[in-house]
């Protein structure tokens, strides 16, 4: 009985190790293709010295520098406004008892399901009216109020003892000061968790920038990568496309390598409300 079970669990372990290996194959293969000279790329058995030629080719043929800048502007701009708004709203929902609370909360709940990405068509028409189509702020604005962020803030604010607030009130602190001087410093882990989720969402977003932006110099990385890849329909240029993909995914991948635990915890936190 016992030996049969250990065999079963051994098989399970072997299968899962193989699955993990299989999961790594796409990444390893792409990185290899990016660093290997073009004519050797298709021959998996030859060992060749790595080269950066593909990367220089990519960087000279497409403005990845400006794509990077745009993505960073979008990600940081969105996050800064989100921080501000979710802290205020999160405090109200966590600590204040007010008329209309439940209705408001339910309305925010709708945004968890109907994210701006689903509403690309009506939102785009709205952006045209606001004269924000084909601009970077146009990409950011629909995401400024984050229901997910508000829920995260509310949940974590509630776990902070209320005595702290009472004490601050006794000393004559205003609500504004209580939020930013008492709570905000204590919410740092929540800010980190929300940042990782928000940054990776907006770094990776594609469909919305695709419909919003026409100009080459306003494209974020994902859009730039897609356009770059589409320029080559035939298979011969895969070395360049792999190099471009590496350029786009490297920052998030490195952050993930160094902060694996925080990353996984943040994603888990933001999902389980």
């Amino acid at each position: 009985m016992k030996s049969r079970q250990t065999t079963a669990s051994r098989i399970f372990h072997i299968v899962m190790y193989l699955t993990a290996l299989l999961w790594l194959v796409p990444l390893l293969w792409m990185v290899r293709t990016a660093f290997v000279p073009q004519d050797a790329a298709m021959n998996l058995t030859t060992v060749v010295a790595p080269t950066l030629d593909n990367f220089t080719e990519v960087l000279t043929s497409a403005p990845f520098g400006s794509y990077y800048l745009n993505t960073i502007l979008i990600v940081i701009g969105t996050l800064a406004v989100q921080f501000f708004l979710i802290t205020l709203a999160g405090y109200a929902f966590a600590r204040l008892n007010f008329w209309g609370k439940d209705v408001l909360f339910t309305l925010f709940l709708a945004q968890l399901m109907i994210t701006p990405d689903v509403l690309i068509f009506p939102t785009y028409q709205l952006m045209v009216k606001f004269h924000l189509a084909n601009t970077l702020p146009g990409i950011m604005v629909p995401f400024f109020a984050s229901a997910m962020g508000i829920f995260l803030m509310r949940q974590n604010l509630r776990s902070i003892p209320e005595e702290l607030e009472e004490a601050a009130k006794m000393e004559g602190c205003s609500v504004w000061k209580i939020i930013w001087k008492v709570y905000a410093p204590l919410l740092r882990p929540t800010y980190v968790a929300f940042s990782l989720v928000s940054v990776s969402y907006h770094w990776n977003d594609f469909l919305w920038p695709l419909v919003m932006v026409n100009d080459v110099n306003k494209r974020p990385l994902t859009l730039g990568l897609a356009v770059f890849a589409q320029a080559y329909e035939t298979g011969a240029q895969w070395s360049d496309i792999c190099a471009a993909t590496c350029i786009v995914i490297a920052p998030l991948l490195f952050i993930f390598l160094f902060f694996q635990r925080q990353f996984i915890e943040s994603f888990a936190k933001s999902g389980l409300k």
Binding site: V175, S200, A226
Partner: protein, 314 residues
């Protein structure tokens, strides 16, 4: 004695009433102040919510009742005609069906794989760090980058799969395009659900397992009778997220198939993109958006009531 007691009682009653009378306006005032403060704090978020979520939803539901396109510049009231046309539109039905197939296959596969990954990552002794990395890294890649990698993998002659058999053109063949996409989606997303199962596993107390082991239960039995039932809330939650994500994530179509060949990989959101931004059929795009919105709201409402019974919010 008796009367004094009565007096006491009356005093107590009156006293209480007095306090209550004094208190009520105070309480009301307190709540009014709280309401003003709260609304001032929530207002900035609420304005953005109204403008970019609630108004577009209302506008798209309303707009779906009008026909407006490049050939018909002035919107004309059409009633439910847009919906009738849509359900006779083969591409729409195809996209609807494709979405359903992809959801029905990826959701259970994601959940089963995620559970296996979590159980494995939780117990593995060698290379835990690397295993977790392997399972989770696809989650943080942009969908469009994942699409690029898998487009390469599936490319005849040049790609990994293409090298196995040069006559295979998985993305270019109507019968294999959806399975090929499903494989990519499972690779991309199952790690995401693994982390929920991981945190779920860590919440199960060790004593339960020890007790089960004392009773002589094997590891499969323990999994079936303890772990899996206790992870039920996580499974429900993952089910909802996986289901809605399968409708929201369609970026890969832009690079991999453009909905083809012959619409055999088209999906609802991508069809919205095509009708809205390639053909500028405003009435039709609004109608498909409305259907998608209603679908997602339905899923979330059902899940909300089911979750409410099971998950105890902390």
């Amino acid at each position: 004695m008796k009367s004094s007691l009565r007096l006491n009682f009356a005093e107590g009653f009156c006293g209480k009433r007095e306090v209550a009378m004094n208190h009520k306006p105070l309480k009301l005032k307190k709540k009014a102040v709280a309401t003003l403060t709260a609304w001032a704090l929530v207002l900035p978020s609420f304005i953005f919510l109204c403008v970019f979520t609630l108004y577009p939803i209302a506008q798209t539901l309303f707009g779906s009742l009008f026909s407006e396109s490049l050939s018909q510049i002035h919107a004309a009231f059409a009633g439910v005609q847009n919906y009738i046309n849509l359900f006779q539109d083969e591409v729409f039905l195809r996209a609807f069906w494709n979405n359903l197939i992809v959801a029905l296959i990826t959701v259970p596969v994601d959940i089963i794989l995620a559970t296996a990954m979590a159980v494995f990552t939780n117990t593995v002794k060698h290379g835990k760090w690397l295993v977790r990395l392997a399972f989770f890294y696809p989650v943080i890649l942009p969908m469009i980058a994942a699409a690029n990698i898998w487009l390469f993998i599936y490319t005849p002659q040049y790609g990994l799969v293409g090298m196995l058999n040069s006559s295979w053109n998985l993305l270019g063949t109507p019968s294999t395009v959806l399975p090929a996409i499903i494989v990519m989606l499972v690779w991309k997303q199952s790690g995401y659900f693994m982390i929920f199962y991981l945190s779920g596993l860590q919440n199960i107390s060790k004593e339960v397992y020890e007790a089960a082991k004392m009773d002589g239960a094997g590891s499969f039995r323990i999994f079936r009778s303890i772990t899996w039932p206790l992870l039920r809330p996580i499974t429900l939650f993952s089910f909802i997220i996986a289901l809605t994500d399968s409708y929201k994530m369609v970026d890969y179509l832009y690079l991999m198939t453009d909905g083809g060949p012959n619409n055999s990989s088209n999906m609802l959101l991508y069809y919205i993109y095509q009708t809205g931004f390639n053909f500028w059929d405003i009435g039709k795009a609004s109608t498909i958006t409305s259907i998608l919105v209603v679908l997602l709201l339905l899923i979330s409402t059902v899940s909300f009531f089911r979750q409410d019974k099971r998950i105890v919010y902390s």
